[in-house]
Symmetry: C2
Subunit: 160 residues, 2 copies
Amino acid sequence: MSDPRLDLQFHRDVSLSPAQIWEGPTNLSMLMKWFCPRPWSVVECEIDLRPDGIFRTVMQSPEGEKVPDNTWCFLGIEPQRRLVWTNGFGSGFKPKPQHTDESLGFVFVADLRLLPLKGGGTAYTANVMHQSEANKQAHEDMGFQHGRGAALDQLFELMQ
Amino acid sequence: MSDPRLDLQFHRDVSLSPAQIWEGPTNLSMLMKWFCPRPWSVVECEIDLRPDGIFRTVMQSPEGEKVPDNTWCFLGIEPQRRLVWTNGFGSGFKPKPQHTDESLGFVFVADLRLLPLKGGGTAYTANVMHQSEANKQAHEDMGFQHGRGAALDQLFELMQ
């Protein structure tokens, strides 16, 4: 289902259970502690966990610089199995204005799947889909692989 | 919740029940008979009724001209209450390429709500959201209000 031309995929088998991992992006106080790779941090967060609900984070650099628009919309919610969201919509599936200059931003849909492993643990797969190869590349150049890995390490620490 | 700057809204109180109306866009053989205002017709259709499922119609003019890309994606499904879909995604919430030339097309999210009326019948409201005023205007100029009204008349006929 993943399209290597347009999708970035992050996969790891982890020793946490699907229930533990599910807490990570769906529990407000939990999310703020791991979602953003250090030294950046999540300083504000809103989670309205239903399809069409808002998923908003404000990320901040150690110098106090904030990423302005991280208001996303949940698309799919299957507890402990699948969480999907996009930055292309705001609350209520409301489509956001299109960037005329692609360098200012790009649309993605993040599809996180959790599969219980035999003998415990979870296969964690995040498939992040884009509209173009250029957008995928831009996301990759932002350090997607490293960022997701570092964040997952933080979640792991938190759960120990 | 509707934004008159970006949304087109079609509303009508009808004597059909929410259950009857729900059949209209969710039952394959039913949909082909009313969804497209005559003399155009739906000649092919696919309905995978789940969030992330495909909603595909091929519309054809009396002269045989076909509208090429009507592959949409369901976003929200609440039987007999709410149906949401977008042309911005294909199956699996996969975002479609962005049109660089806006005149070639625009993204919309259609949010159909059915509310049972006291004494029978249904308040039928379709709120169709766009990324820009220009896109909304283009959709309006395609005959949105007239088209939705004519289609709903066809559904009404069918259900009598």
